[in-house]
Each structure stands twice: as C-alpha cells, then as structure tokens.
Symmetry: C2
Subunit: 225 residues, 2 copies
C-alpha cells in the first residue's frame, strides 16, 4: 500500500528535506504552502497522514489540527520547533497522534510515521525497507541495489557486506568485524575470502558506473564515506 503524506511546514529547507526523504522511503509526498487555507489542500488531496508544524504563518498548527479534526480522523503528527513540553501536551490534547521535536533525524521521523500508520490503518503490507546513501539505494526486501534507475542483483554475501557497510557509513568497519559477521566463528575461511567478496561487490558498482563507493583504509578496514 502506498501512503500519501501531507507536509505543512513553513521552513522551505526542512519542507523539501522531508518531502525528498518521504519519497525516498516510498511514500507519496506532497506539501502545501497555502498557509491561509491548509484545509482546502487537505480536502483536495485526502492524505493518509499529516505532518503539521506548530509554528506557521497566519494560523498555527493547533488551529489547523482542530480544523482537520472537524472533518477527519486522519493521523496527525506534530512537528515542534522547540522542545516545549506545553506544546507536546497541547498537541496530544488537540487530537495529535504523535509529536516530534526539531531537530529530528529522518530515521526517527520515518519510524514515527510508520508506527502511526500501522496503528491507524490495519495494514500489513509494510513499507519497503531501504537503506540509502548518496543516491545508492539498497532494497532490503529484495536484496537488490538501485543505482540511477539501474537495478543490480546482489548475491547473498554481497548483500550482507553492503548492508553492514551502508548501516555504518561514515565509520570504518574492520575486516575482522566483516569476517565475523559473514562467517560463523566455527567456520574457518581464508582471510582473503573477504577481500575477494569486497572485490566482487566493487565490480558491481563499477559496472553501474560508480567508481569509489567503498574505500579501503589500510590496516583499519573499509568505509563508505
């Protein structure tokens, strides 16, 4: 099931960041900047969930929450600029379903959205799980890789390696950790087997036109910067 999410947020940078990430996570995202009549856009688009900033020009988020509640039980997730406890209580009393304070990480936002959707709709066909970094999308459902619209099939070893490295992007992952993650302690594999598997993974990236995704840190391990 494809959920449609409406974002009401006046800070353009945040608005665009949210929309971009929602799309990335396979939601249908749309934003409104018609702050004098949010309800109009809501009724026109009928989203499955509303992300509502509290600080808005003209009327505030609480006002629009009330307006929406008059016509719909759609789940509403409030976004607050400051970590204000009164806001949080207010938001909940208003009929808000959850509350997130800026600054927030996209992972937390997505987790909250998924949790709220799961609670509000009886849906079992969960969102596609993905891991994204620099335009490279790892699909956890199918174990495939998407690089500028090309779908690349990964073997199980390749998938496991990339999964670990992408989860830890920005940090060096030691060869030892990778070895222990892919092969049980009991099972003895040659140290070079890891190198070969990294090599195979890199070749797939190269064949898709991506040069240096996985970097070697000699003596330390590998990193996706």
């Amino acid at each position: 099931m494809q959920f449609k999410i409406m974002t009401v947020e006046d800070d353009r940078a945040i608005r665009e960041m949210i929309a971009e990430n929602l799309t990335k996570w396979q939601f249908e995202a749309f934003t409104t900047t018609n702050f004098s009549n949010v309800l109009e856009d809501f009724l026109a688009e009928k989203p499955h969930l509303v992300l509502l900033d509290i600080n808005l020009p003209i009327y505030d988020g609480f006002y629009w929450c009330q307006k929406i509640r008059e016509v719909s039980k759609v789940p509403i997730l409030f976004i607050s600029s400051r970590n204000n406890n009164m806001d949080m209580v207010m938001a909940m009393n208003m009929g808000g379903d959850d509350f997130i304070s800026k600054p927030f990480s996209i992972e937390v936002l997505i987790a909250k959205i998924n949790a709220t959707l799961r609670r509000s709709y009886d849906y079992v066909d969960l969102q596609t799980d993905i891991l994204e970094h620099q335009g490279i999308i790892l699909n956890l459902d199918s174990g495939t890789l998407k690089i500028n619209e090309q779908i690349i099939d990964l073997s199980k070893n390749e998938y496991k390696l990339l999964h670990i490295l992408m989860k830890n992007h920005g940090k060096i992952v030691s060869r030892d950790k990778l070895l222990r993650s892919l092969w049980d302690d009991e099972r003895f594999v040659d140290d070079n087997t890891l190198t070969v598997n990294i090599n195979r993974l890199r070749k797939k990236f190269e064949s898709a036109g991506v040069g240096h995704f996985i970097e070697t840190k000699i003596g330390q391990g590998y990193i996706i910067p």
Copy 2:
C-alpha cells in the same frame, strides 16, 4: 552493539511481555521486582536504557528517576498506566527521555527505544532488523531463519517469498503477486516455478520440525495464518 535494557514494571504480564519482546528484538533484557531498591539493581547491571513504569509499589517511577539521575545520565523511557498529560510533563521535567502510554503496541515501544538509543548513544550500528511470527524469526540482515534456536540458511528466492508472506501474515497473498514480486514482468517464468520454490521453502520448515507454516488457499494463493 548489544544494548542492555532494564524494565521496572510491577504488572507481571506486561513485564514479561516486554522482556520477551526486547529479547526478540535482540536487546539484552532484564527486569527488577525489587521495588524497595531499584537503584541497587540499576547500579549492579548498568543498563543502557531504563523502561520505568510510573505506578509502582512503595516509591513511584518519578522517585526512582530522580535517584537514577543523581548517579547517571542513562536514557529513561517512562511508561504510564493512564494517558495522563500531567504525568507526561512531569516525566519530561524529571529528566525522562521519552514517554509511552499504556496500552502501547510493541512496535511503538521498540521504535521509541531505538530512537532514544540512537539519540543517546552515537551508534550507527543499528539494531538487527527482524520479522517475527509465532516463534519463527526472519533475520532481515542476514537472510536467515531462526526456528527454536536452529539457524536455517535461506536462498534468495526462499527469503523473498518468506519475507512477503510474513509481512502479510494473516492475509492471503496471491500466486500472481508472488510471481510478480520475485520475477520481473519481462522475465517469463513457468507458473510452476513458484510452486517449486514454495515447496523448497516448506521443506526447510519441515526439516526444522515445523509442519504447517505456509498454507495453500486453492484458487486464491498462500497464507501464513
């Protein structure tokens, strides 16, 4: 990273339910029922996160939160029996990191725990992603299956099939949907190929001593009830 979580909750059923689920989600769980000295157990175990019920015998959750705060900055997630806004504000003022009201879904609890851990510890090595149903655990990271402590390796097709069926447990998934999920439209595969792959998956369950996990609904598809 393996996080240790301490649960302080007087309702035995809830306490055990939480502990069981924490373990399932790869946390190290321990509970205390020493309500006259929660701090003692806290100091002995040094957990990474505390789940603290507000209504407790002898002293309440707020008291223990203060006691813990005197010695530690460990993240504390409050559990409230009633959806009481004052409790929520109080909890936050006390130095609580998050707040969840009963009844809560395990998914939400886990999401909140993960979000809090992510905020509190600079860890990028996220929790293992799993899908669980009736004691059968599908590890999304490694593409393996865990059936009463046995680890069973799945091939890529077997993993994809099981993943879809487990995501949709309780619902019938049509053969057509499975076919389209596993094989691109362009790629023509025999209709029986799906049957064979289901058969192979079932054999792995049987070899682990599980009889009827995937049921056939003739003319409709397959279902994990």
